[in-house]
């Protein structure tokens, strides 16, 4: 079997460019759908990295916060503090008063002082007992024991459901996961749908290209052009659409990284978004490769149906 030489590669390229000009609208359609599906894939990959970062940082902070009702007596608080100190796996405890809690909140909101202004001098934040653990594995056990303590149940911020007054990393992580799982499912469904649409568009574009060139194809077959030579321009066309679509999505992702991410970071300072540039490089490469797979597969499927060689 003959190998396709450099000059025929140039021929494929110029022919695929002609096909591009011939069916501009359908070509744009396939490029845009590839672009959108790759962009969504890329955004979700970045989102996944952010969630991973959050999960890691939350798990680093192995502490339990027990919120205490405003009207709790100092005796009860002392009793609960003593009880918690005596538990296994507890390293230290620290009591945060309502005023301190407000102060902490104000400090974390320096970039959005208007939120603090809206409090109108009120203090909605409860006092809390912060429990530092010596062993991260013990979080669930210690939390369970605090929850079952009768005195705590009495002074808990939410007496109806004492467990609601206990905040610890695992819970945040779990909640994060339920939310991200929903988002992920929606994202995957969206990507599958978009890839399907991209296939339909590529299929149609390549079909039109084949139709437009059917006379040339018939002659090529008669004079003995090799099958690869006949297929080349169409594969090239699919690949070209894919590369343009992937390039667009990479450009948009890079703009998002440079412009949007710093803004998100400054408005949500507690969100650890610092993603290394190398991760972006890998994601861009993945986008390019998956775009090429979509483009080549799409045109290969179209050729199977419409191009007899």
């Amino acid at each position: 079997m003959c190998t396709v030489s450099m000059s025929s590669f140039a021929y494929f390229f110029s022919e695929s460019l002609k096909g591009f000009a011939r069916n501009l609208s359908t070509a744009l359609g396939s490029i845009v759908t590839i672009f959108l599906s790759l962009l969504i894939i890329g955004v979700f990959l970045i989102g996944g990295l952010v969630v991973d970062n959050i999960v890691n940082s939350v798990e680093d902070k192995v502490s339990i916060t027990a919120y205490v009702a405003d009207d709790a007596s100092q005796e009860d608080i002392d009793a609960v503090e003593n009880y918690i100190t005596g538990l296994d796996g507890v390293a230290s405890i620290h009591f945060t008063t309502k005023d301190q809690a407000l102060e902490n909140f104000k400090n974390s909101m320096t970039s959005n002082p208007e939120i603090v202004d809206q409090l109108d001098g009120q203090n909605p934040l409860p006092a809390s007992i912060d429990v530092q653990l010596s062993d991260a594995q013990m979080v669930e056990t210690v939390a369970g024991e605090i929850e079952s303590n009768e005195t705590f149940q009495k002074i808990a911020d939410n007496p109806d459901d004492p467990s609601d007054s206990l905040k610890y990393g695992q819970k945040t992580v779990d909640r994060l996961f339920t939310v991200t799982n929903y988002i992920r499912t929606i994202g995957v469904a969206l990507v599958v749908l978009l890839i399907f649409i991209a296939f339909v568009f590529i299929n149609n574009t390549i079909r039109l290209s084949i139709l437009a060139r059917r006379k040339e194809i018939a002659i090529m077959r008669l004079v003995g052009a090799s099958n690869n030579f006949i297929r080349g321009p169409f594969l090239m066309e699919g690949a070209l659409h894919a590369i343009i679509g992937a390039g667009l999505s990479i450009v948009v992702m890079e703009v998002l990284r440079r412009v949007a991410l710093p803004q998100i970071q400054s408005s949500l300072p507690w969100l650890p978004i610092n993603i290394p540039g190398s991760s972006f490089g890998i994601i861009y490469l993945m986008l390019l490769v998956s775009g090429l797979v979509i483009g080549l597969l799409g045109s290969a499927l179209a050729m199977r149906r419409y191009l007899k060689v």
Binding site: S5, S7, A218, L222, V223
Partner: protein, 280 residues
């Protein structure tokens, strides 16, 4: 391109093979070794190795299972021959020519082109078979957006010939068909006869040993047809085997060449068989 494709295909085939060609090509070599050289003088030209061999070929199209397009056709065409394939519309001429370039496969039987069995030929080899067979059709099949030169050059471009080869071979072949002054014309600026000359030039520009024409004069008036036939005869004289399917019996009889007649898919007449010792 492979060696197998070349065997027996060169236009100036060796004249060592005997008069009685065997039905099976693999016997050719044995037989030609056995036959004495003195045969050469007694056998009328052309002789040599079979370029086309049909071995009990039947073609049934799925649309008409009870009416075979070709039924039990056996024939041989030798290197350097000029053969007319005649018959009414629907007699199977086009089916036969399309089988030679393996556009379609026989339902039964075998077709050999220069020792190669087309029914066992791998699909990817088919283009290399077609590089050795020039084809000319009634509807010319020229690209309207290319000039005469570009149309002929296209046939060389798509099989990967270098620009140098194209620049020397295309003007040469266009001179042969008498269109040296119309290189830059577009097909719709030419007459029907001139367009058919372009398509013949395209068919022979790669110097194939075999030229297959399906109704080459079907669209042309008698005078122009005569010119096309003269051109085909001239190409045949350079050693190219030429097979012309046509329903123009008068022309065929005037030219006094070998004639194979098909009627409703059956081979009914092979006028020159006595001369060639055609034993089918």
């Amino acid at each position: 391109m492979t060696n197998a494709n070349n065997q027996g295909m060169p236009a100036h085939a060796s004249h060592s093979a005997g008069a009685k060609a065997p039905a099976r090509p693999n016997l050719t070599a044995q037989l030609s070794a056995q036959l004495p050289d003195l045969d050469l003088d007694t056998v009328a030209q052309p002789s040599g190795t079979p370029v086309i061999t049909f071995d009990h070929v039947t073609k049934v199209y799925p649309a008409q299972p009870s009416k075979p397009a070709l039924y039990d056709i056996s024939l041989q065409v030798f290197a350097g021959e000029f053969v007319f394939l005649v018959g009414h519309s629907g007699s199977g001429k086009t089916t036969l020519t399309r089988m030679i370039i393996r556009e379609i496969k026989p339902t039964e039987g075998h077709i050999y082109i220069a020792d190669e069995d087309l029914s066992t030929m791998r699909n990817w080899r088919v283009p290399y078979l077609r590089r050795n067979i020039g084809t000319v059709f009634q509807d010319f099949k020229l690209l309207p957006n290319k000039t005469v030169f570009e149309n002929v050059a296209f046939a060389l471009e798509v099989i990967g010939k270098s620009r140098h080869v194209i620049r020397t071979q295309v003007p040469e072949v266009l001179r042969l068909v008498g269109l040296q002054d119309k290189l830059d014309k577009y097909p719709d600026q030419l007459s029907g006869g001139e367009q058919q000359r372009v398509s013949i030039a395209r068919a022979i520009v790669n110097r194939p040993p075999l030229l297959v024409c399906d109704e080459p004069t079907g669209n042309l008036d008698p005078q122009t047809s005569r010119g096309i036939m003269d051109l085909l005869e001239r190409i045949n004289r350079t050693g190219t085997t030429v097979l012309v399917a046509t329903h123009d019996r008068e022309m065929v009889d005037n030219m006094r060449r070998r004639v194979i007649a098909l009627d409703k898919g059956r081979l009914t007449r092979d006028q020159d068989r006595g001369v060639y010792g055609f034993d089918v």
